[in-house]
Assembly symmetry: C2
């Protein structure tokens, strides 16, 4: 298409490039799709407010998206007390049959695969335990089998796969590259990999205890002590991919040597084995000490990071107030007034599913070009994602 301005000038566009108007319309469409993708279901009025598009422009865009099956409409539940007065308002949402995302958590003792649709509904979830001595090849084979099951035998409408791995995951982690290759070749979609505890931090921040927060710290008290930091809504990975290792901050700088090389690391006092050695999860004093020292380490971290929320997860979080009360007391006694004032401390909500749900959240957050928004156009050059390890 050649554009001619009203004054007669011919504005040539190179044949292979889209016209300016097409580009602008694409941008607006992508905005609408991105909002529905992030927020689930919205009314036309809400979409108008959030995009700033005129009613006419928005109506043309939503009309086209509905026509192409990318967006569907559903009547909203009537507001209380309106009882039939006024027209029912239609909500727009992404077609649940497209825009699927998969999350796979390859944990130490089990694999979990979860698939959600574009409307953010979980449409399948399976988990299978394996013995700790299971090889990497066997683990990934089980994961692929499980994902096939949850996907229902096909990768139609699949946007991407997020994978959580136990242990450190950085740009140079071999298992990460192997997973990207394996899953990317099998399903032909972008694959993003991260540490599964860090992904649980993201899942809690997006869907769980921290929904609506921008800055949160997740600490997981389990066989080891790990965690994840969400800064300004995004996962902090660090220079080598090791960010979040709260377990190796010293709780007692003169304490015993830790396997990491440090001294008196939090993991030596607040992990499951440490609490079991000190009396077990039923022993109030052992749990109290774990909570207190976790609170102490978190105080230092909070004074530097100034988060709005601490989410405590892992088996120890199951001790409830016996753990959380001393943790919170110690944290509040040691944190700066400005820092503790707005700070909330809570147990995790998503439990065992956090890693897989966080893997999905990672794909939805970092995969920059959702296929469903691209669908009616020729494929864009390159499918670069911003995650740590990626294939297209």
């Amino acid at each position: 298409m050649t554009l001619i301005s009203a004054d007669g000038t011919i504005l040539r566009m190179p044949r292979s490039e889209p016209t300016a108007l097409t580009l602008l319309r694409r941008t607006h469409e992508a905005q609408v799709v991105e909002l529905l993708r992030r927020l689930g279901a919205l009314s036309r009025a809400e979409l108008g407010r959030r995009t700033g598009l005129s009613r006419t422009a928005l109506s043309s865009i939503t009309g086209s998206l509905i026509g192409r099956g990318v967006v569907v409409t559903a009547p909203a539940a009537p507001a209380r007390g309106t009882r039939g007065r006024g027209r029912p308002v239609d909500l727009l949402r992404l077609n649940p049959a497209i825009g699927r995302c998969a999350g796979v958590d390859l944990g130490r003792g089990r694999v979990r695969a979860v698939v959600s649709n574009a409307a953010h509904e979980i449409i399948g979830s399976e988990s299978r335990p394996y013995p700790r001595r299971t090889s990497w090849e066997e683990r990934t084979a089980i994961a692929l089998e499980l994902l096939d099951t949850v996907l229902g035998g096909g990768s139609d409408g699949l946007e991407g796969i997020g994978i959580g791995l136990y242990g450190p995951v950085g740009p140079a982690t071999e298992r990460a590259s192997a997973a990207v290759r394996l899953f990317g070749e099998r399903y032909g979609v972008p694959v993003l990999v991260d540490n599964n505890t860090r992904l649980a931090a993201l899942a809690e921040a997006v869907h769980g205890a921290g929904a609506g927060t921008r800055h949160s710290v997740y600490v997981r008290l389990s066989h080891g002590v790990g965690g994840g930091l969400v800064v300004d809504g995004r996962l902090l990975r660090g220079a080598s991919g090791a960010a979040g290792e709260i377990g190796h901050v010293p709780a007692d700088p003169r304490g015993p040597r830790c396997h990491c090389g440090g001294r008196g690391c939090l993991e030596l006092y607040a992990s499951l084995p440490a609490v079991e050695a000190a009396g077990g999860l039923g022993d109030d004093a052992a749990v109290e000490r774990a909570g207190r020292l976790t609170g102490q380490v978190l105080a230092g971290l909070c004074n530097t990071l100034d988060p709005e929320l601490i989410v405590v997860g892992g088996e120890l979080a199951g001790c409830g107030e016996r753990l959380l009360a001393p943790l919170e007391a110690e944290l509040r006694a040691r944190a700066l007034p400005a820092v503790r004032q707005g700070l909330r401390i809570t147990a995790e909500r998503l439990g065992d599913s956090g890693g897989a749900l966080g893997a999905i959240a990672l794909v939805r957050q970092e995969s920059p070009a959702p296929r469903l928004a691209r669908q009616p156009y020729p494929a864009a050059a390159g499918t670069g994602c911003t995650g740590p390890v990626v294939s297209g």
Copy 2:
């Protein structure tokens, strides 16, 4: 302007809105300006690579920018060994006479004002001490006077002002709002305010010891112990604006009470008064202890944040290796292998000017709509900046 497509359809654009082509061209212009603004001077080839624009499109855009005086050309120094062979390559840069940015550091004991031009050259810098008992009104009056002097009597071509304040600076800090009002009304440009130690962290990350890094930690050992975190190239502020308070991370959890309410905070061992009480800056043991405990606290922080660089500033950094060697030894002994592997530790480069230079860096980084790119167009609605405290 009404656009008519080649097939005769009239594509109406609302009168008050710019056309799609204008919008697209603005986006491309803004890209070019933003690249030159961030990177200083670039060849046309380099601009083409970085923007992805065709040679024709780029030439039309740079031609217009040069015509409007936004961009100027200058021959690049000939490469070694080419001695006159080939055409000399012109570099494009922003016109140094426009796009000025001011940084003001309202410190405890002195004010500093620095002005840089669009080519990132410092074109003026002044500082003036004041007694510690000087009132807020007097301090700001001195700052305004100093800034007038450095600006050379006019705010022509001024893009914005960054202001560094001592003490905690968050969204609710009254002094910050007062400074925004005062400087905003006087100069009629966007004003961004942040804590001056945090701004020094940004300055070191952008122009100083950390130039080229994405993740760095700045620690300032002075009358107090403070710092700043740069995560993915941006300053971390935290939920209440308190992020970076490294001085109140415990170095000895069972140590004496600190004024902050905590126990055994780093500031009790590694601040200037603490070292002076323990023997002074000339006393090797006192300096060594400060370095060692700073390294210990940084190890915990690094294990969670995984930065690539630690920058040490403040009066104690002047002790050089007597401080840095024990700091680095302790840090490396306690940090996780993955974390310490890529980690570099160095003294600050910008010294006393860090706060003011960081204030400029903040304006260049966070002020989203540089005036010089907007110049030929009607003023955009709103001048919202993303900094913590802002006025237009």
